[in-house]
Symmetry: C2
Subunit: 205 residues, 2 copies
């Protein structure tokens, strides 16, 4: 399958399909239709068929999609048919929440290191993790071959930590700091900013 | 200005512009261009001009945008030129992080109530808030006229709490539970799911 030219907007919907299909599988459902899947994720059946057909022929006319098969394929496409180690930078409340978050298990991610530059936090524990010194971030992340990081530092520190992560070889950053950061072209950055999500909805109120 | 028919995808970019412009204003910058703003948010200058022109004529050829003026207009369009009270349901680690989160201040939102159904949590404090019983959610949220809620309950509870929030008159829900929920047509739901953001990036690794 040639997935070189798949538009980013389609890639963005695949995790949504993956999550809904996983939920169906957890409930013992074995097959689904683009219609049914669409109702779960709020995307039209036609759009789902079009999105999925980009990657090959997964469904059969009349019998729909095998959920197990489609899950396998989506995990393969999104490269989450493996576990990625994740470094977390910024050992505050959000890091604590993420370290205990149940939504990473079975979805391809495992937090393995937590960093902070606060001397009062370094050496303390968050769950099973000992908070490490950000001064050692580049060396530790590089030698562990970690490619994914989550940023939960204050806005003022986000850019410098992003620079360090890029230097350490990280290629994907999920930024919880409420600020846009500049990263090299080969480093992807996604943002989680609850105020932005809320502002997107207040327009309609 | 006629904002009835603005596509949702444009509305989705406005909070991004708002955040970047606020950051510039905080740094003492007074004017900007679509080019400069675009570099901050990763959107083309042409797209930014097109998006903003949907709402009227805000910029002057050659002199660019007045940041203060554009901030005012964007806040007005997104209806965050006021403070919205927000109810938080699910008093776990994420609620704790959100209750202390600095990214709501000055952006239109203020958490005013926290609910949980765990008898061991009810009556306990998170910051200044006393955790209230979810059994009283519909009544309390309705009588306070709260229109916005954040859901940080386990996936298994997300749908029933969504139903209660809709019944209480909430029109915008930010769902942190890793599950899609069904809400009435007049209730907007946005999702924050870090695994989905990460999966969107692993595709490119």
């Amino acid at each position: 399958m040639n997935t070189d030219k798949i538009p980013d907007i389609i890639i963005g919907r695949l995790p949504l399909y993956l999550r809904a299909l996983q939920r169906m599988a957890d409930n013992g459902v074995q097959t689904t239709s683009s219609q049914e899947l669409g109702e779960h994720v709020g995307v039209s059946a036609a759009q789902i068929r079009k999105d999925i057909s980009q990657f090959g022929e997964f469904g059969k006319q009349g019998t729909g999609y095998s959920i197990a098969y489609l899950l396998d394929k989506l995990r393969e496409i999104l490269k989450v048919n493996r576990i990625w180690d994740v470094a977390l930078v910024g050992a505050g409340d959000m890091a604590r929440a993420l370290a205990r978050y149940q939504g990473f298990a079975g979805r391809g991610f495992n937090i393995v290191m937590i960093f902070d530059n606060d001397q009062n936090k370094i050496g303390q524990k968050i769950g099973d993790f000992t908070i490490e010194d950000t001064a050692n971030l580049v060396e530790k992340v590089k030698s562990a071959g970690i490619k994914i990081a989550m940023l939960t530092v204050p806005a003022s520190a986000a850019q410098s930590v992003t620079d360090q992560l890029a230097q350490a070889g990280v290629k994907a950053i999920l930024n919880y700091a409420p600020i846009s950061v500049n990263a090299p072209k080969n480093v992807k950055v996604q943002y989680i900013d609850p105020s932005m999500h809320l502002q997107r909805m207040t327009y309609y109120l």
